[in-house]
Point group: C2
Chain length 165, copies 2
Amino acid sequence: MIVLGIDPGLATTGLGLIESNERRELTVREWLTIATPTGLPLADRLEEIRFDLLRYLEEHKPDLAVVERLFFSTNVKTAFDVAQVRGVILLTLAEQGIACLEPNPLTLKSCITGDGHADKRQMQDMICRILNLKEIPKPDDAADALALAVFGALQQQGLGIGDRA
Amino acid sequence: MIVLGIDPGLATTGLGLIESNERRELTVREWLTIATPTGLPLADRLEEIRFDLLRYLEEHKPDLAVVERLFFSTNVKTAFDVAQVRGVILLTLAEQGIACLEPNPLTLKSCITGDGHADKRQMQDMICRILNLKEIPKPDDAADALALAVFGALQQQGLGIGDRA
């Protein structure tokens, strides 16, 4: 099963693609980001993100996507931008008939590390261990997207990380 | 020129369509709402809004669209929902090649009433006067959408309401 994690952002949307086999082994296929230039109008940036995502979905045909649920941010402008991108991403996944999980941050962290309040570093360390990566994926948006993909794969296996130990 | 005002919302998106002729007269074509049921998943609701909007754009071929800029709301959940819908709407307009104005609330109110801090009632009264309507359009989402359409038409004429008096 192919799982795509997506971390929405207007400047940078992170994508993380992993594979889960019958022996429940998780392997990274790739990670990357979709970037849009700051100078462009919002609508054009949304259109570019959708275009790139559509092409990516057609090429890699994920069985499942995972997009984090929105939570309150102190930076309202950024939060609105993320929400507008997120709307376009959910729409695109739905139109392509790709199932999508939407964990909240607590559920995500809890599943990956066993601790719902894990910090970024703990999350990245666990992602490296689970996926046998020697280095933390860069940029953070891509690492976050991989964490979402791992969450999706573990959910499909009926497992949180506690159960794998 | 045909101008479409759009007031995004997950439960109810308001649409207001007006026409501006060479004599700078504004007339209402219609107003309506796109509603989506609460029980549906977010992605399906976004897909439904996009589907209905696309059909509407194809039928009425507006020359210009107007979507209000987002502002901070005390209800963050609702604001995120609106932002996600707004992203889908801006995307759809851009894909259809329809120019879109995005006034902030202050600019909108100032253009329609001459007062950037006008309340809902003042706005609705002015919309009725400008469009020769005997009654305030219902629901509020549709009235708000008509206000946005009037803003777009006045901008295209190079006028705010102060200049029309």
